[in-house]
Symmetry: C2
């Protein structure tokens, strides 16, 4: 029975921060923050990376809980996961003493 050193909040903040720790993913989240939804193709056009690489970045954002995908065949519409985005907001707000 080992004492846990880090709180759930610290671990979740680290997960969110890590997900934002790459320019491609910052780019995506900035876009989604502005327009709430987008298609993978929109991203692919503007980013200088292979589509398989983009797919991986989207997967990471998804598994960190920051975005979610919705099938609109044959495309996929990506949106912010509002619930977790709000959590991230609060975590960073507290850490950075915003307001």
């Amino acid at each position: 029975m080992k004492k846990e050193v880090f709180s759930e909040n610290q671990k979740q903040l680290a997960r969110f921060a890590k997900a934002l720790g790459h320019p491609v993913r910052v780019y995506i989240m900035e876009l989604l923050s502005r327009q709430s939804c987008c298609y993978s193709g929109d991203l692919s056009e503007n980013l200088p990376i292979a589509k398989s690489t983009l797919s991986q970045h989207l997967k990471e954002l998804k598994s960190a809980g920051l975005i979610q995908g919705e099938i609109e065949a044959p495309k996929i519409k990506y949106c912010i996961n509002r619930e977790n985005w709000e959590k991230a907001r609060n975590h960073f707000k507290i850490l950075l003493k915003i307001e």
Copy 2:
């Protein structure tokens, strides 16, 4: 002459986020956010990692510009780098639409 896809702001935000992408480093920044300064020994006592590992995490926070060390022989006093902490605050504030 290749077109640069990412803005400096995006890259800097990614660097800050990446630096916060580990529970140990979140722990350190939370502590420094509360009390503004601390000694490496304070951290070492409470964290379940080798001192060499802690040293590396501090190095990363330093090279991301989030903290700075001041020698108070034989110890080192670590403080938040206020200028960059403020920058990080603003970056996250904008991204997360805080306020």
